[in-house]
Symmetry: C2
Subunit: 148 residues, 2 copies
DNA sequence: ATAGAGTGTGACTATTGTAGATACACATCT
DNA sequence: AGATGTGTATCTACAATAGTCACACTCTAT
């Protein structure tokens, strides 16, 4: 169970909600509840994938590299998690057995298809939508608190 | 990267290819190239999910609990791996931040949808198909070897 | 120009998840 | 009764992940 995807999405949503201002890794780490170094590492992966950019120096920080409408959860998955879905035999199967010889090749096709299906579903949601979702949950919460 | 899914599918394919004879965990472990204890653990999960049964005692071993045509890769996934797709924040996000408060709820919906898409794709392949695939790869290999 | 702020990255540690190994009570067949 | 094999618990080894610290480097602001 790795949390890179969840944290990466959290970071992007935060950047989106923050307007266009550069956001420091320390500030982001405060919201995610982790340490700035991990945030910077994830931002590094996402920058390489073209999702974010960073400004060096004083007043610097991270920014979305393109509009939140054009960043999907699939993009995030591909940036930080791709290919880790299923592991194969740690030691490799026994090549003396017909099943052992071919099972991995046969499985790979199906796993690839499954991974594509997963990504296609993730591509249906953008960071912008997620931001709206988070914001509307906050509104509902506010309304509820006022009412009580 | 855990290999439970790959190993579990390997086991079932082996059972399918083996005809209807009970197969010992030691024999299976030989093909998978692991130890009998791990095989028995996975068989335990699959038995609880209704995919396999085991016969105790001498001459005993594991069997498919229903025809290989009626066991999908999705069934296997649900039996041994379900829910492990994405981890959430290890320490939980900061509840003092609006994004931190709601990101997990918002994400959960999408992750569930992605997991359903993954399972739906996996459900498109049965152990019987995979067995045929493995067998035909073996035939091609034999033909190639004869030709050379 | 230079001090301060902040990134990117490497190295190390702690924690957790996974697999390998062993042991043993129990069920079943012969 | 004895042999065979399952199911499960426990322990160890190993691998992956996250947390922590450190530091060179870049940029901004003054």
């Amino acid at each position: 169970m790795n949390s890179r995807f969840a944290v990466a999405v959290h970071i992007l949503t935060l950047l989106e909600q923050g307007g266009g201002e550069p956001m420091t890794s320390e500030y982001v780490a405060g919201s995610v509840n982790t340490n700035p170094s991990l945030v910077r590492r994830l931002l590094g992966s996402m920058a390489r994938a073209g999702l974010t950019t960073s400004q060096f120096g004083a007043g610097g920080g991270a920014l979305l590299a393109r509009p939140a409408e054009q960043i999907t959860l699939g993009d995030v998955y591909r940036a930080v998690d791709a290919g880790d879905l299923f592991g194969m035999h740690r030691e490799g199967p026994n090549p003396a057995c017909p099943v052992g010889r071919h099972i991995q090749g046969a499985l790979e096709t199906r796993i690839d298809a499954a991974e594509r299906a997963l990504q296609a579903e993730l591509d249906r949601t953008t960071i912008a939508e997620l931001g709206r979702d988070v914001a509307s949950r906050e509104e509902r919460r506010d309304a509820l608190q006022e009412a009580c």
